[in-house]
Structure formats: structure tokens, C-alpha cells
Amino acid sequence: MTIDLEMAEIAKVFFQESREGLDVMESGLLSLGATADRENINTIFRAAHSIKGGSATFGFAEVAGFTHGVETLLDEMRNGVRPVTAEAIQTLLQACDCLREMIAATEAEQPLDQVRIASLNGDIKHILGEANEAPAPARAAGDEAAGTHAASEPGGWRVRFEPVADLLRLRNEPTRMFAELRRLGTMVAHADTSRLPLLDALDPESCYVSWNIDITAQIPRGKLDEVFDWVDSGCRLEFTPTGGSAPVAAAPGAAAQPQAAAGDAWSAETKAVSPNETKTVALAEAKAAAPADADRSAPGGAPAQKASGDSGSIRVATEKVDNIINLVGELLITQSMLSSFADGIDPNDLDRLRQGLSQLARNTRELQESVMQIRMLPISFAFNRFPRIVHDLSRKLAKKVELKLSGEGTELDKTVLEKISDPLVHLVRNALDHGLETPERRVAAGKHETGTLELAAFHEGGNIIIEVRDDGAGLNKAKILQKARERALVAPDQDLTDEQIDNLIFMPGFSTAEQISDVSGRGVGMDVVRRNINDLGGHVQIASKEGLGSTIRIRLPLTLAILDGQLVRVGKEIYIISLLAIVETIQVARERVNTLVGHTEVFRLRDEYLPVVKLCDQFGVEPDSRSAEDGLLVVLEADGKRVGVLVDDLLAQQQVVIKSLESNFKSVAGIAGATILGDGTVALIIDAPGLISSAAKQGVGAVAAHAA
């Protein structure tokens, strides 16, 4: 796959997201009319911010520039500097429409509607209180022209305007001209519909209507010619001065001049009031602006190609898929319930029952796997856009950066993936903007002039971890603390640990960037990052060493996942350990167990000493036996550390549906989640890395470090 193709894929995502963002902005603005609450403005602002960021990333400078104005206006509203007026809302809504068209035009690689952009930009600047003495060029030109001609004129004109059928296909809009005429004086137009065919014979893109227009205004003939200048080759025109003079037949002019930009500008304004119902109603109602625009600006050419990404996939409400997943999960539970029931049944029927059950088991599992697959996507979908972002940003910031990606194949739930993309972009931008230093500073600090930015994804316990690591300057703790005190996020006398200070950057409204740029610094980033991650039931943390860099660690729960689990028994309790974490299971020989300083036991496995974690002590359960040689030692590995976990017995291996403990309770150290066994009881899933670290807290870790 070439870079260009890849970029096109990613750009498509951007266009899609921007449209969603615009929808959000639009509905936000519409509800803003009733209640001007801050949260709503924030939502609109964030949507605008994302569009700006994305468009800047892809090099759509015009979209980014335009959005910047919109964003500035929203920012002032958000900060309460600017009152939320109906006029401002109206302008912003128009800006949304304009942006939608800009994005459509950009996607279809059509020229942008400069006039409209300039005019809306003017409106926004006007609201922002900046001088705006330059109205839309087209209008200015028209006004000037009006001033130059002031010759002899009759009291009015009657115009007979008979366009040819493909007037519209030549992208001319009669209403545009009517609007122009109306500016000259009182205008009454009578539509002559005698040429209109029956509906079944009607070509919606043809113009069948002609007009008789009466204009009451003292204007020279030249003014009228000007209005019809663009269409004079495509129509029959007759001008009759009302006030005595004889009719003057207008000779068809030379070549029609394509004036795409100005033409589009007017058509946008007159779309809704066009008398040609068949075409313009369809246009005005067409929600996707792209085909309509392309139609207009590419006469007779290729019709705009429909978004090609739609082929081969259908959009299904997430809810529905979730429902299926839940049902299939239940099915699995039922199946294992039946399996355990089968053990106590009449031996004669047993074989057939077993056969049926094993088939059921297979089908159920396959069904579940394929349903689960619907939702899982490799994280490369999110990662793939970063090389370009990093490339562009580092050039813009004049920094040298090497991007390292790892674990792109790690699969993530689609919802999680979608929601994590934006936060990741924010984090990467922040790392580049604030984290990594310029080559000069890096060399001065004794580092290689090229900075490293790493994005890594991997599984850990029942979680997926995404890390964004840079080897930049790290966080300036003093500055963060000062800023936090300024903003009263921290009481003046409050003492904070380094870790707490670092994590202050996730507070709302916190940004230490001196200059607001389109890279970062408005303070939307980090608090939204944390909120998005928390909403996913995840957790984000930053660890930073001044001068050495920062690591942002996002822990996301593996929701909806199933796990290949080993059931183990300790006393009366049954726990589940992920098969992925289990290295091996061994029977313990007495002479291989030694006791270190006091009562910590280590076990010698070949040439390695493993600390022994007694699950019974960890979880406060009464075991069958406390001595190692009566039980089994399950060797677990996580984070590069190994421990032996002592259990009473190994039971079956089975796939289990992970149920969150947090949804109704809270996270518990050493427990990754829960599941429901065949008999309907709940069993806890052991979080291997968590167990190892909580064991470390009780002093076993010191030994682990020794042994390793």
C-alpha cells in the first residue's frame, strides 16, 4: 500500500469525523439558543477544535484557518468574555454549513467557495469586534459596477428571458440573476410555464421555464446586460424599455465565461428560494453536500464519486451488536450449565446427549467468537495516522523526531478504539509540542538531537495498555504547581508529591503553554483526554522525569472480552487465571522450598528462585493446606516478573466471559474482573500483574527482585 493510498484512507476518517463533529456543533448551537450552559459551549468548542486540529494535520489550511476563527469566537463565549447572542449563533450555524461544504469540496477535490468563506469570516471577525470593512468581493464588484454606469435611462424595462434547457447544467442559476435584478430596483417576474412537460417526461436537470420580468428602475441598458452576461449564450433575451422605446433584441453573446467561484457563491444563497422546484429542492434537501456541489461545478463531467468506503460494510447500531454479545454470553453459560448437568444423567442417553452438547459447545463458541470479532479492530487503525501527524508537526515545530510504534496488532473493541483515537492525538501533539525539545536544546542537554516518541500497545492482565513515551524535557513541576496555584486548582499550602503534580495536567482548564497555537495549548486537551478514558472505564497516568522525558500510560479495560481461563481452587473458592499468564504448573518438592528472612518462601525452579505467593493469604481464604508440597504451584509471568502462586487444586480450563466488577462495585487489587460459572455462581478472575504488585507491597517483591 502506498503512502498516498494510506493517507487517503486516513483522510476519509477525518472527513467522516469532521461531519460528525459538525453535527455535534450544529445540535449544540441549536440547543444553545434556549440555554447557554457552559458544558454545551465546551462540547461545541471541542468539536470545532478537533476539526481544526485534524484539518491542520492533513494540510487543509483553509479549513483550519476558517475553523480557527470559529474556535476563537467559541473560546470567548466559553470564557464568558463574549455574550451568546442570537446573531452569533446564527453566524456560527452558517459557519457550520460553510464548513460542511468546505469539507465536501476538499474531499471531492473541488475548488472552495472563497466568496462565502470570506464573507463568513468577515461576519465572525465583525462579531469578534475586529474591523471588517471588506465585504465579499463579488458584492463589492457588483456595487462598483452599479456606480460606473449612469447614462440615459428609461423609467423601467421589460425583459423576456427564455433560457435554453440546459441552463442549469451549465451551472447557471436564474434566481441568482433575479436577486441581482432585485438590487437594481423593483422587480416583478412572471414565470411562463407553457413549455413545462408532463412529469414523466420531465428531466429534473433541465430548465423549462421562461420569464417575463418587469423592472421599475431608472437604469441603463448596460446594467441589465451585466446581469445576463453569464447566460447570454444560453438564452434568448429581449429587452423592452417601458416608457415608449422600441424593443431591442439582444444578440446572443460570444462565449459564456465560466465564473465558478462567484457562481457558487450566489447559488448558495439563492438555493432555497429557487423557483425551479424539481432541481433545487432536491439540492437543498440533499444532506450530503458533496454530490450536489460536484454536480454544479463539474458540468457534463464525471459525477462526484460517492464515498467509496461504504461498500462491503453496513452500519449497525452498537446497541444491537451488544445485545447479541450479551445473548451469546448467556448461551455460553447455559451450555456449560447443561454440560455439568449431563454428568448425572441416565447412562443410556448419555452418549447422544454428550454428542449434542459438544456440538452445541462448538457452535456456541464459534458464534461467540465471530460476534466478538465484529467489534474488535487492531489498534493500527488508530496508530496509522500518527506517522503523518508526527511528520508534519515536527516540521512545523522544527524538531527532529523518530516515531516508534509497537503492538499495532493489539485488538481493541471498536468503541474503545474510536474513543481513544482523539485522546491519543492530543497526547502525541502535546508530547511533540511540550515534551520534546528543539535539536539545539537536546544537544545542549547532552542528548541525541533526534527525539524519540514511542507508541506502544499491549495486553496486561485483563487490560490493554497504551503508552505514549517521549524522551523530551519532561514536565516542569515548578511551573505546573505555580500554574495550578494561580488557577486555584491547588490550595496555596497544599503539599503534593511529584506524581500528584504531574497528574495535575489532567485538571480541566490547565495549560502551561505560553502561546495559543493550533498545535496545542488551549487547555482542552488533557482534561478531555482523561474524561474520555475514564468514560471507557480506563485510567490514565503520567510519569515524568525532568530532563529525561514523560510516559503517559493509558490502561483500558478489555470490555466484552472473553478469556481463556484456568479454574483453580483454594479452599472453597474458585478463581480463574488467564492461560496467557500461566507459564507452567508444578508439584512442589519440599526440598526446593526455602524460607527467606522470616516467612517469605521462595521456590527453586531450575536455575531461578521464584517467590511463592499464597493465594490463601493474599485473598484471606482458608485453604486445604498451607504447606507448599500439598498444593500446586502455578507459575505466572507478568511485567517480566515471575511468581509461583500456590493453589489447592487445578480444575477445568474454559473460556469465560469477563464481567466488570467496577460497573456495580469498584476495582479490587489483584482482581481483573469476574465471570459467571456454569452453576450460576460468580468466580473472580485473577489479575496476574496486579497480584504480583500487591504481593510486592507486602514485602515479597523485594525477594522477587533478588531472585530475578
Binding site: E573, K659, F665, K666, V668, G670, I676, V682
Partner: protein
């Protein structure tokens, strides 16, 4: 829905100013929870214990596919524990928390009645209360010469679960 004591006012005023409470017994006292929050009442059944939790968290159960924690209210309020008997029930309630709605079960001695309680009749709890931490008490009300303790279950459950996060498990 049957009510033990219909209020004097018309239906409309009853709907506006009074709320229905499900009451239950706990160590001889009668407590009330907003009936709209009660999802179901079920018998006591075996739970799966959860390590590293306070003693009043008895464990979790499978409630039609959801993992629901069960709290022992006697232990939560520091009352003397008794053996679970035939009247012992689990009241499953929905509570609001910062992260959305939670479903939690509370073990109580027995369910009692459903009362209409007029907001005007309620009294704020006295500052000092013997056995129950008063922050969990929304109000007191006298009905049929009995004192009813109306609980603020959002606060009670939220405090019992969220405020006791395992150290190091999360950074606020």
C-alpha cells in the same frame, strides 16, 4: 400498590408532596428507602467473597448476568451480627454514583411495609445519633407512632464502596 397509611390529601397532592418508602427491619429499628430505587427483593443466597474489602461487603452474586455486590447493613452500621434466618432478605437497589448507576444488594433482617411519607412530616435527623452514622440518614418521620429512619442510599452505598478504594488502585 398497597399503602399502609393513605394520606389525607387528594391523589394529586399525594403525588406531589409524598413519596413511597419501602421499609425494612434492622436490629429492631425500621428503616425506609425510596421505593423507586428498589429493583427487587430476593432471598439470601451464597455469595462469592471478594478479597481486600471491608467486612460489610459480603461478596458478589450473579443477578441475571450482572455481578452485583452484596452489603451487610448490620455490619455497615456497626450493629451486632446475627445468623441469617428465614426472614433475612436482600433488597436490591439502584444507586447513583459519579460513574453512573450501580446495582447493589443490601442484606437486612426483614422487609416490613410500604408507606406514603409526606415530605412535610419529615424531620431532619438530630446531630448525634447512636448507632447510625447520621450522614446516611435523610430524615426521620413518625408513622403510626413508630419512628422511621429514611436512608440516603446514594450516600450510604457511595460511601461504602467508592470512598474505600484500595490504596494505589487509582489516582484522582
Amino acid at each position: 400498590m398497597s399503602t399502609a397509611k393513605p394520606t389525607a390529601g387528594a391523589d394529586k397532592s399525594a403525588a406531589e408532596s409524598s413519596e413511597q418508602y419501602l421499609t425494612f427491619m434492622l436490629a429492631g429499628e425500621e428503616y425506609g428507602v425510596d421505593i423507586l430505587r428498589v429493583q427487587e427483593i430476593k432471598g439470601w443466597d451464597k455469595v462469592t467473597r471478594i478479597p481486600h474489602t471491608p467486612d460489610y461487603v459480603l461478596g458478589v452474586i450473579n443477578l441475571r448476568g450482572a455481578v452485583v455486590p452484596i452489603l451487610d447493613l448490620r455490619r455497615r452500621f456497626g450493629l451486632e451480627t446475627i445468623a441469617f434466618g428465614p426472614t433475612t432478605v436482600v433488597i436490591v437497589v439502584r444507586v447513583m454514583s459519579g460513574r453512573g448507576e450501580r446495582t447493589v444488594g443490601m442484606v437486612v433482617d426483614a422487609v416490613s411495609e410500604v408507606y406514603n411519607v409526606d415530605a412535610a412530616d419529615t424531620k431532619p435527623p438530630p446531630d448525634v445519633c447512636g448507632t447510625v452514622d447520621t450522614v446516611f440518614v435523610k430524615a426521620l418521620v413518625t408513622i403510626e407512632e413508630k419512628m422511621l429512619i429514611l436512608l440516603d442510599i446514594d450516600r450510604l452505598i457511595g460511601n461504602s464502596i467508592a470512598d474505600e478504594l484500595v490504596p494505589g488502585a487509582a489516582v484522582a
